[in-house]
């Protein structure tokens, strides 16, 4: 097991709702963005402004006028408690301020004090408080203990989504000069270099060339991983972790093989070399829009006809739900395809068409389960039917893999538990939170390992993959358990002309792929 300076939650056979332990995570705070370079390029003051209190209230008023969600959600909560046991951070830390309603109340009590009749004149009665230094510290701590996974919103009778509240709170804090280093530094890199990891064009080209060589060595087939290729049909936008991190990169190899077999031309872009959009995590429409516009510009410059996104959870939310709003209209693309598409929609389409030759037995050494990523599950769709975001990934896995098992129904589909690292929290300075927040998912995973001999968990999100790789060892499980869905596809796919060693059956299938 990995070493830790905190207690690692014990995994139970049946999930339990733990008693509250007030203040148990009050010490958890991510590093503050102290370097002006992390704040100013995003349009925020370099440090906490002098009249921050006054400014924060002013910005809260501004956001209340811009977001119906915020206005309605702050008014409508009746404190019924249905959300109190739904957050993975509460279940893992027992800190009551990690109950969604209590987290919302950190903002709501200030809203009531300054914006409502009852809070102005009867603050004690309705639990309204002034915006003090102490409250601001609570904001910084607990609004960075929300991964904006929306699980609470599934169970709320009014659909109150704590993610909306966290986003607003982070935007207010950024605007008064109290930003989170991790998110803001990354956004800065996107503006400057083009991706979260700060990989410049030559490094990307080099990496992709390396991948081509690897695939050639493995299969004897020349699969291309093109960069900035004008006139390609498809622009692939994928999280930059796919370029080098494990198991992400195996997914990228898979996308390339699928495109190759489908016989479509495609390209990556060095300008839009990042699917992630951390502008969402900090609740900034302006930054989210600026990041999204790179994709539009890249699509126009390269003259592509379609845009497809790689495996990434929140990126798919921004792409599916927001891209048309932020960077549309996409009337210059081929109207026969939705804009954008998910790589799994593409792959599932090809599987249905029969263009891919698949050898499921290549994955026979695995018993696979699937982790629904929160943003994909509760904020997007795939395909034409509601719930396609659940069926399409599973259909693809089942098409390339003989052994598939789902986890406890209360922990999958729209009830899925966050990996514990989403929403801009995937940083080492929040390790305790990440480990504890992973508890409900780890519990469900452990149960299918014990009951069904599950060996691997597939995911379709760069953050989930990185988070699990890091967190699994804390719970005594192997970090390499986590695989990309397109890694499974990649293993099973038999490329046209590939020397398989045993060329027995399947001669007849899909020679006309190209």
């Amino acid at each position: 097991m990995a070493k830790a300076e905190f207690e690692i939650p014990e995994l139970k056979e049946y999930p339990e709702i733990p008693p509250i332990q007030p203040g148990s995570m009050a010490h958890s705070k991510p590093f503050v963005a102290k370097n002006p370079d992390f704040m100013e390029p995003l349009g925020y003051p370099a440090e906490l402004v002098d009249n921050w209190q006054e400014k924060a209230i002013e910005h809260m008023g501004d956001l209340l006028g811009k977001y119906r969600s915020l206005q309605v959600f702050l008014d409508a909560c009746v404190k019924c408690g249905a959300c109190t046991d739904k957050c993975h951070y509460y279940l893992g830390t027992q800190d009551p301020k990690n109950m969604p309603v209590a987290r919302q109340d950190l903002l709501r009590k200030v809203y009531r004090r300054y914006f409502t009749f009852a809070g102005k004149y009867f603050p004690k009665l309705v639990g309204a408080t002034d915006l003090t230094q102490e409250v601001l510290e609570d904001w910084y701590s607990y609004f960075h203990q929300c991964s904006q996974c929306r699980r609470c919103s599934v169970f709320c009778p009014y659909g109150i989504d704590t993610a909306e509240i966290s986003m607003a709170a982070r935007e207010i804090m950024d605007r008064i000069g109290l930003g989170q280093k991790y998110c803001n530094e990354i956004i800065g890199k996107v503006f400057k270099v083009g991706n979260n990891l700060g990989l410049p064009e030559p490094a990307l080209a080099d990496t992709l060339e390396g991948l081509e060589e690897d695939v050639l060595d493995d299969t004897g087939v020349e699969v291309k991983y093109p960069l900035d290729q004008k006139g390609a049909e498809i622009l692939l936008v994928t999280p930059s972790a796919d370029f080098f991190a494990e198991p992400h990169v195996d997914g990228l190899i898979g996308y390339g093989k699928v495109f190759h077999e489908a016989g479509v031309s495609w390209t990556l872009s060095s300008k839009a070399s990042e699917a992630a959009n951390f502008g969402m995590f900090i609740g900034s429409y302006e930054n989210m829009r600026r990041i999204s516009l790179r994709i539009r510009e890249a699509a126009l410059e390269l003259g592509v006809k379609r845009i497809i996104f790689g495996e990434c959870g929140h990126a798919w939310r921004v792409a599916y739900s927001f891209l048309n709003t932020l960077a549309g209209p996409f009337d210059f693309l081929d109207p026969n395809y939705p804009v954008p598409q998910h790589i799994l929609e593409f792959t599932w389409g090809e599987i249905q068409k029969g263009t891919l030759k698949l050898d499921k037995s290549a994955n026979d050494h695995m018993v696979v389960t699937f982790h629904d990523s929160c943003n994909v599950a509760r904020a997007t769709r795939m395909g034409d039917e509601p719930g396609g975001q659940f069926t399409i990934p599973r259909n693809v896995i089942k098409a390339v893999c003989n052994n598939f098992v789902d986890m406890d129904p209360d922990t999958i589909h729209e009830k899925t538990f966050c990996c514990g690292g989403g929403g801009g929290l995937l940083t080492d300075d929040l390790m305790e939170l990440r480990v504890k927040g992973a508890k409900p998912r780890m519990e469900a995973l452990k149960n299918v390992i014990e009951e069904h001999g599950v060996t691997n968990m597939a995911a379709i999100c760069a953050i989930c993959k990185s988070q699990f790789t890091k967190v699994l060892p804390y719970y005594g499980m192997g970090m390499d358990m986590i695989v990309s869905v397109h890694q499974l596809v990649s293993e099973a796919i038999v490329l046209t002309g590939q020397d398989t060693g045993d060329d027995d059956e399947q001669e007849d299938s899909t020679e006309d792929a190209a």
Partner: protein, 245 residues
């Protein structure tokens, strides 16, 4: 006219005004505030008809709450449905002639007062005994339950234990409604009825400035009322469009 009658006449006019104006202003605010992004909690309906159906299930069956907390759902749903039924029965105190359906169902519905009280007691119990719910409860959360309990219990008492001169009460309200003060009868000075009416007026007054705003709020909740079609239809609001210029 007695002082009590005048006071309650004034009280109910004021309460009605505050309720109607307060609620209208709030609804107008929700209506006017834009929702810049598509944020339905998915899986979500892909058509407007589907959204209407989702909202119907949410408002009538409390679908999400049912998924989330069975006991709270049970007590909450019983309370709300009983309240609506009892409110419906109260039409008989304002109508002349009384609708057939109201008169016909009245003898049965009156027993739902007990369901309403049981639902409220269940919700109160949960607030007191579940540590997580106790933690999030403000004084106003308890007071709201006591207020509703007070209304329910006082109402039930006047129906089942100590009958009040309900004909006089009805006449009082009929006169209030038609602004006919010349022949307005005195409100019976029955303490139970005074408590009942006083609490109802208080409820009307606090409605637009309290968590009872969940009533209009649920219809404006973007996670529930938006159609899942962001790829098919571009969604953009005025302030966001300005950024494009």
């Amino acid at each position: 006219m007695s002082f009590l009658t005048v006071a309650f006449a004034a009280l109910f006019y004021a309460a009605t005004l505050l309720l109607v104006v307060g609620l209208a202003r709030r609804i107008r605010l929700y209506w006017k505030t834009p929702a810049p992004l598509k944020i339905p909690t998915t899986p979500a309906p892909t058509t407007t008809g589907g959204v209407v159906l989702r909202m119907f299930r949410e408002v009538v069956f409390f679908e999400s709450l049912f998924k989330g907390a069975k006991w709270t759902w049970l007590f909450g749903w019983i309370f709300h449905m009983a309240l609506f039924a009892v409110l419906f029965r109260h039409l008989r105190y304002f109508q002349e002639p009384v609708w057939g359906i109201v008169a016909w169902t009245s003898p049965l519905i009156k027993y739902l007062a007990f369901a309403m009280i049981i639902g409220l007691l269940g919700l109160l119990g949960r607030r007191i005994f579940v540590d997580r719910v106790r933690y999030i409860s403000a004084p106003s959360d308890y007071l709201m339950l006591f207020l509703l309990l007070g209304i329910g219990v006082s109402g039930a008492l006047t129906t089942f234990v100590a009958h009040t001169d309900v004909v006089a009460v009805k006449s009082f309200f009929r006169h209030l409604m038609t602004f006919n003060f010349a022949t307005m009868p005195n409100l019976p000075s029955d303490p139970l009825m005074i408590v009942h009416l006083g609490l109802v007026a208080l409820l009307m007054i606090v409605f637009p400035i309290s968590k009872l705003l969940h009533v209009p709020g649920v219809f404006f909740s973007p996670t529930r009322n938006q159609v899942d079609n962001p790829r098919e239809q571009r969604h953009i609001v005025e302030w966001a469009r300005k950024l494009e210029q």
